[in-house]
């Protein structure tokens, strides 16, 4: 079994160590674990989703995102651990009635139209059937609402799934890979919709393997890999502050000057660029020192890490930790 990640990659994890659920916590899982035979699909996942935020649950395919979401929704019984959703144990009817979900692709009756499918779900939710029409409009499917579900494209099916999740204005909207099958315009619209939901006071728990897709819309993210939650924090914390990228000659002299300001570990080479762990406000100081040190400065830019880079860095660190643990 994989070892727990070292402190270098675990920040702000399980902030409610005493396992008390805050009123602002819409979802809190405590060491949620699901084992299928020898495989741990989710390994002691402790995450917290706060009221009104867009929470991104990130990880590659097969990382354990959907299994965790299924446990949060009560579709799957955890092997151990627990989850509290809207103040109720996961899966309790009182909680589920206030949650809208699209998990692992849309599941609808193929012989019914999109509108009738939503009417069926509206009846399950004890909502008026007019909720189906509103939901169809919200995802731009009103024009195809009377077509059978089986005739829909993948993207249309996905949008119908999102429409179903939004019916009744649930407090928590759980969307598992909601942009699957959407074209670029559909993806942009979906991002807008999610941001709009959060603005309206709804909490969104969103899973994705497309890290760049969610970094602009999520307030906080949890990163999962091989069933383990590697990190949970705000996007900005996760990406770290901006740093400076410098191209200058001669390189050895530029390195020496930069290390003098940022420390030996604060400077890395990236091709012919030098990445310096200094904030943008320190750019004038760095340039002044470089010029004073006889370095010809060709370019200075601020750079921010993408979530993708952070993710690969984290998974690399996790692998090296595993290797060390097995030695």
């Amino acid at each position: 079994m994989a070892t727990r990640p070292g402190p270098a990659i675990v920040k702000d994890m399980n902030p409610n160590q005493d396992n008390q659920v805050s009123h602002d916590d819409v979802v809190q899982t405590h060491e949620l674990t699901k084992r299928y035979g020898d495989r741990l699909a989710a390994d002691r996942v402790s995450l917290t989703v706060r009221r009104g935020e867009v929470y991104g649950f990130l990880g590659p395919n097969g990382a354990g995102k959907t299994t965790t979401l299924r446990m949060i929704l009560g579709l799957v019984r955890p092997t151990s651990g627990s989850a509290v959703v809207l103040g109720q144990p996961a899966g309790r009817s009182e909680a589920i009635a206030r949650v809208g979900a699209l998990v692992e692709g849309p599941g609808f009756y193929p012989y019914l139209s999109g509108r009738d499918n939503l009417k069926v779900m509206a009846r399950y939710r004890a909502l008026p059937e007019s909720a189906a029409d509103q939901a169809l409009e919200r995802v731009d499917l009103a024009g195809r609402g009377d077509d059978r579900f089986k005739s829909y494209s993948l993207g249309m099916k996905q949008r119908l799934g999102v429409a179903s999740a939004l019916m009744g204005e649930p407090d928590l909207v759980v969307l598992d890979e909601p942009t699957n099958g959407l074209d670029p315009a559909g993806m942009v619209d979906m991002r807008k919709l999610i941001v709009d939901l959060a603005r309206g006071g709804q909490t969104v728990l969103l899973s994705s393997h497309l890290l760049d897709e969610v970094q602009d819309i999520c307030d906080r993210v949890g990163v999962i890999n091989n069933g383990e939650l590697l990190m949970e924090s705000t996007v900005s914390e996760l990406r770290g502050g901006a740093s400076l990228a410098v191209r200058g000659q001669p390189v050895d002299r530029a390195l020496a000057v930069a290390m003098g300001l940022a420390g030996d570990d604060g400077v890395h080479m990236d091709g012919d660029r030098m990445l310096v762990d200094l904030g943008p406000e320190q750019a004038p100081d760095l340039v002044r020192e470089l010029v004073a040190g006889g370095v010809a400065v060709h370019e200075v830019t601020t750079v921010e890490r993408t979530l993708e880079e952070v993710f690969f860095e984290m998974t690399r660190t996790e692998k090296s930790n595993e290797l060390e643990a097995t030695r």
């Binding site: 009221r51 009104g52 299924r70 929704l73 009560g74 579709l75 799957v76 019984r77 309790r92 009817s93 009182e94 589920i96 009635a97 206030r98 949650v99 809208g100 979900a101 998990v103 692992e104 692709g105 849309p106 599941g107 609808f108 009756y109 193929p110 012989y111 019914l112 009738d116 009417k119 069926v120 779900m121 009846r123 399950y124 939710r125 004890a126 509103q134 939901a135 409009e137 919200r138 995802v139 731009d140 949008r159 179903s164 009744g168 204005e169 649930p170 407090d171 559909g186 619209d189 979906m190 807008k192 919709l193 709009d196 939901l197 603005r199 309206g200 006071g201 709804q202």
Partner: protein, 304 residues
């Protein structure tokens, strides 16, 4: 995708929703009724049963009566008797004589489709995230299925009366109505038999989590295996005891206690193995156990 076509919530918390078991069951029943009503497979299955009733209950007898030919189902029967069988007075018997085997088999198919298809389509997953608890959802599904079984039995009765009146009119026969008690008895027995098979189909669809295996195994069981076991049971005591608790035995015996099995060539599936009272008890046990077991499975299992 529109983000402003509908209002966003003004409060952070939705109003309390109906989540009591009864409210959840009612909501689930309404939802299931909608999707079953619009499902062509449901009407094809019911239509197949009605077509069988028309053919075996009326058409073949009437053609034999008119032509004087006999078929496998009415060999040795007089022409007058052939006509009497399809006049209104005999409707209580015609209504149920095909139910133990053919009607039951089709209701088994219906139950298996209702339960099994939702796993492949992922619709149970969607339904279980709507609010009603799983026991309420399953109860709603049973209730909706029951509505369709009742509809089928009542439609069969209406069809039988309609056709028998047509025959009486065409053949200039006096219309003699069956007694209300006989009609009610047949309706009740028919419902019990059809409902039992439908719920057993639902159980099979739940166990197999799909329609194909459950329909296949269910039909082989209902149409072949039970008959073989009853044959073997005539030679082996323990097997005979076992066959007495089988659903086909119970359904066939209940119908047999009403329509009789003394004809030259009794309708397939119509038996005299159990008395009418015992058959009702065995049927009732199946009617209780099948939904309980299916409900327990649905509630306990993970949903992929």
């Amino acid at each position: 995708m529109s983000t402003a076509t509908t209002g966003t919530p003004t409060t952070m918390t939705s109003p309390a929703r109906r989540t009591s078991p009864l409210a959840g069951s009612l909501a689930s029943t309404r939802a299931e009724l909608l999707r079953l009503r619009k499902w062509p497979a449901v009407w094809v299955t019911i239509g197949a049963w009605l077509a069988l009733t028309v053919m075996f209950g009326f058409l073949f007898n009437y053609v034999s009566y008119k032509t004087g030919d006999t078929s496998f189902s009415n060999e040795g029967v007089t022409a007058r008797s052939l006509l009497d069988d399809i006049l209104p007075a005999n409707v209580p018997h015609v209504l149920i004589q095909g139910m133990p085997m053919f009607g039951g088999a089709l209701m088994l198919v219906l139950g298996a489709l209702v339960a099994g298809n939702g796993y492949g389509w992922g619709t149970w997953k969607t339904v279980f995230t709507q609010g009603p608890a799983r026991p309420a959802v399953v109860t709603g599904s049973f209730a909706a299925l029951t509505v369709f079984v009742v509809t089928t039995v009542v439609a069969t009765l209406a069809l039988c009366f309609g056709l028998s009146l047509l025959v009486a009119g065409v053949e200039s026969q006096a219309v003699v109505w069956p007694s209300f008690s006989d009609t009610a008895e047949s309706l009740g027995a028919g419902f019990l038999v059809m409902e039992m098979w439908a719920l057993l189909g639902f159980l099979l669809g739940t166990v197999a989590r799909g329609p194909a295996l459950s329909v296949g195994l269910g039909l082989v069981w209902a149409l072949v295996v039970e008959n073989l076991l009853r044959g073997v049971g005539q030679l082996l005591g323990p097997v005979e005891a076992f066959t007495k608790i089988l659903p086909g035995t119970a359904g066939g015996s209940l119908v047999g206690s009403i329509v009789g099995t003394g004809g030259a060539d009794p309708t397939p599936g119509v038996l005299d193995t159990l008395s009418g009272g015992t058959a009702v008890i065995v049927l009732a046990v199946h009617l209780v156990l099948a939904p309980l077991l299916a409900g327990w499975l649905v509630t306990r299992r993970d949903v992929a």
